[in-house]
Amino acid sequence: MEEKIDVEAGENPFQPYLDSLRKVLEDQDPIFIVGIIVSLAVVVITFVLLKYFISSKTVQSAVLLVGLSDSGKTLLFSRLLSGKFKKTQTSITDSSAPYKAKNERGSSWTLVDLPGHDSLRPQYVEKFKSAARAMVFVVDSAIFQKEVRDVAEFLYFLLTDSAVYRNVPSLIVACNKQDITMAKSAKLIRQQLEKEMNTLRVTRSAALSAQDGSAGASVHLGKKGKDFEFSQLPMKVEFLECSARGSKGEDGEADIASLEKSLAKL
């Protein structure tokens, strides 16, 4: 006991207080002091255990908005949370906010908007993937034809990730920018993606291993021998159409009813 007190403070101003404290404690029964120490230890252990249990409950309570750069994630984020239209620029960091789902239970979880720029994507996905209970993959439907290979590669990267494979978060593919006339439908996008993922399965497995020996993902998507289909995946996949900008542009409402419904089902 005395050593503890000595270690705590070696400064002069503390000395008189410590002397008096020491005297008070020495007057007490030693068993009493032992009792105090034991109770303190119990409190600390309970605290640690509680924290562990609480954190394990909230470990998967985030819904991630992912996608390529310029696909409309930040605007969708703004519309879902506040309904307002905001001008956006390329995101450099993630933004997160609690979201109240529109269902009877009124469940609320965290909605996280990740940046889509190529150099930032991998590290932010790495940071948030274990906390994801669902992922909203936002696709720019208007320029999909040109970007189909990049979209497919990112989706492949997400699906073959080991953490995703383990937690199996549900996947919602939101085909954004439907207000533009040349936008492709969700069904078409689904078909194109399935075809592309089929080819990617072959080329990605033939890719070179990294220089320190660590190979790429060894997860094989879908069933061997058969063409790839999204229904073969272990997680729930849903394709829907939406428009974050809305048909009336800045002033009107966004056309995200189907997205909100899907989010409510989570």
Partner: protein, 656 residues
């Protein structure tokens, strides 16, 4: 005059924007370009950027995660912009502190920032202040300092000794001309300038050695004598001038022959304050101005010891002063001192430049020790400093850990490819379009182009792709034979019987001394006819400042328009990497005819097995070009081909 001004959060939401009168086009494009090329590529060292006709200046606020961008026409030179951005930033922060401090994006989404009036006020103030200063008017002759000098002082004499700074510049005179003071003062005592000239010419009659000796003595004597003498000497020349011609006093020579007798001792104290110099003279083995004999050991104790003593005294005085003040602080706040240490760990403390300075210097040296090019290491550290300035540190984090973490993130970000890199996928695409996929390898001599070309063709044929190798190295002896040997070995590993009767690898060569661009064009046409999937073009190694060869390479690439131009660089290269890549890119850009010249698309990093963890070359190369590292060569057999793992490389870099 400003085109636009935006304030947006780092998460991408625009909080407030202002568009100048008469500007109709949206500013999202230029700002996005700014973000992509500067901030994300870690070039935020200097804070301006030009995009087409517009010039953009920006400022990062790291405490509240905001970015302030102003854009104006490039042709205008507005002087008030930097200070203006700073003012706006401070104003905005003060006004909206409450909303900005809340965590989470909800506050930013829901609040409306009505900053118009403040902004207009600040803009008006800034514009007025820039107009107020106006051009500085020239001084009249009387007001200038030159009119205070005498004519004699400004006459330059031959031999380099300028007898200037007489009249008004007494103090300056004393300090500047300390070593040469003595003889000069003796000369200045003589009246006419012409005599001065001749005297000075005579001065030069002495040999170099003697001048050096003399000056050395003066210097030492000056140091030995009290500094008080300095100002006293300077009024002397002014007084002595009207006296007339005075006898010249030679210091070494003395006034009598007795003083010239050095046989007794090593000189007296009077004119041998330079024990040093006389010792040097007496030393038989030493001959100063010739290359013979031993060099005099540099004795910092004796001659410069005097000077050092003086300097040291000053330092000691300074140090004592500093120690006193620092001692006072702990006495007052001994209680607070202990808590102050804890406070440094816990609680919010915002990072300033001074805090980060020592850590960044150490990091810069560490990076350079790991073979990152020197200018790239300093640019990286500047960029990290910009990103962290003003940021509030979390609890129990030290400055060093924050800076290290930020540096690690930016290194990983640099190494991530900016676009998709899947060669097999593109090859399959080209196959469906019935055209060959052309890859060109370029680089300086001896980096491993032919070896890695063979490794890549092995990888390709393992995946069922037919390859045509074009031997466009028509200069080096044995280049064509080397490729032929590779072709034979690869064909024996994958015999034609297994692949439908046709050889998987073929070599297209036209011998030596021919034009490389022509051979490449014929090879591509041949591949198209024979339905080869990939054409690998091997070029001769060339130094980056060899202009005719660079022109030839640029012509090859411009004429044949390959799908992929790979620069092969070895991992052992240090600062050279920067020069090589810059000059290669420059040559490719200059000599192409089209608007969009084909530049280097990817990098092959070779000889990776020779470096342990000095992997800095990877950083240098990707930083300079912005292109990803596509292949990593780790040996000389066919299997030694890898892809880059950014995390592993950064881990090796940051390892102590």
């Amino acid at each position: 005059m400003l085109d636009f001004f935006t304030i947006f959060s780092k998460g991408g939401i625009v909080l407030w924007c202002f568009q100048g009168t008469g500007v109709t086009e949206s500013f999202t494009g230029p700002v996005n370009a700014l973000i992509r090329s500067v901030i994300l590529q870690e070039r935020s060292g200097n804070n301006s950027y030009t995009h087409d006709a517009m010039s953009l200046k920006y400022k990062l606020d790291n405490e509240f995660e905001l970015v302030f961008v102003v854009g104006f026409q490039k042709i205008l030179t507005l002087t008030y912009v930097d200070k203006f951005i700073d003012d706006v930033q401070l104003h905005f922060r003060d006004r909206y502190k409450n909303e900005l401090e809340q965590k989470g994006a909800l506050a930013l989404l829901n609040s409306h920032f009505a900053f118009e009036d403040d902004f207009k006020l600040l803009l008006r103030e800034a514009e007025e202040s820039s107009k107020a200063r106006g051009p500085t008017s020239m001084r009249s002759f009387n007001a200038s300092l030159k009119s205070q000098k005498t004519v004699k002082s400004m006459i330059e004499t031959k031999g380099g000794d300028k007898g200037k700074e007489q009249g008004g510049k007494k103090n300056k005179n004393a300090k500047k001309e300390a070593p040469a003071a003595e003889p000069m003062k003796g000369e200045k005592a003589k009246a006419p300038a012409s005599v001065q000239k001749t005297v000075e010419n005579d001065n030069q009659g002495m040999t170099q050695e003697e001048i050096i000796q003399k000056k050395r003595e003066e210097f030492i004597r000056k140091r030995m004598g009290a500094p008080v003498e300095k100002p006293s000497k300077s009024p002397k020349p002014a007084k002595e001038k009207p006296k007339g011609k005075e006898k010249r006093v030679w210091t070494l020579g003395g006034c009598s022959t007795k003083e010239l007798d050095y046989s007794q001792s090593n000189g007296n104290g009077a004119h041998a304050a330079g024990d040093q110099g006389l010792d040097a003279q007496a030393d038989p083995g030493l001959q100063l101005s010739s290359m013979k004999g031993d060099l005099l050991a540099v004795d910092y104790e004796s001659s410069e010891g005097d000077e050092e003593m003086e300097v040291e005294e000053e330092d000691v005085v300074k140090r004592v002063v500093v120690a006193d003040t620092s001692k006072k602080i702990p006495k007052k706040g001994a209680f607070g001192g202990m808590f102050g240490m804890l406070k440094g760990l816990v609680g919010s403390k915002s990072l300033s430049q001074e805090d980060m300075e020592p850590v960044l210097d150490k990091m810069r040296d560490h990076l350079i020790a790991k073979n990152v090019a020197a200018e790239i290491a300093s640019q990286l550290c500047d960029s990290v400093a910009k990103k962290l300035e003003g940021k509030v540190m979390g609890t129990f984090t030290t400055v060093a850990s924050t800076v290290k973490g930020a540096l690690q993130d930016s290194l990983v970000q640099i190494l991530q490819p900016k676009r998709r890199m899947d060669i097999l996928r593109d090859v399959l695409d080209a196959r469906t379009q019935r055209r060959p996929f052309v890859i060109t390898f370029c680089g300086v001599n001896g980096v491993g182009k032919s070896t890695n070309l063979a490794k890549i063709s092995f990888w390709l044929i393992e995946n069922g792709i037919t390859v045509l190798i074009a031997a466009c190295d028509t200069f080096r002896a044995g280049a064509v034979e080397q490729l032929r040997t590779h072709q034979r070995r690869l064909n024996s590993l994958h015999p034609p019987q297994d692949h439908g009767g046709r050889p998987v690898v073929q070599l297209y060569e036209k011998g030596y001394g021919k034009d490389a661009a022509g051979i490449a064009m014929e090879a591509i046409a041949y591949a198209r006819n024979q339905a080869f999937d990939v054409v690998l073009v091997d070029t001769a190694g060339r130094m980056q400042d060899n202009t005719p060869l660079m022109t030839a390479l640029a012509k090859l690439i411009a004429v044949n328009m390959p799908d992929l131009v790979l620069f092969v660089g070895e991992a052992l290269v240090g600062n050279e990497a920067v020069d090589q890549l810059v000059k290669f890119n420059q040559a490719l850009a200059d000599h192409s005819m089209s608007d969009k010249p084909r530049l280097i698309d990817g990098i092959v990093l070779t000889k990776f097995d020779t470096i342990d963890d000095k992997v800095g070359a990877a950083i240098s190369m990707t930083y300079i070009t912005g292109q990803p590292i596509v292949f990593v060569g780790t040996g000389q057999t066919y299997n030694d081909l890898r892809s880059l793992n950014a995390r592993a490389v950064v881990g090796a870099l940051m390892k102590a």
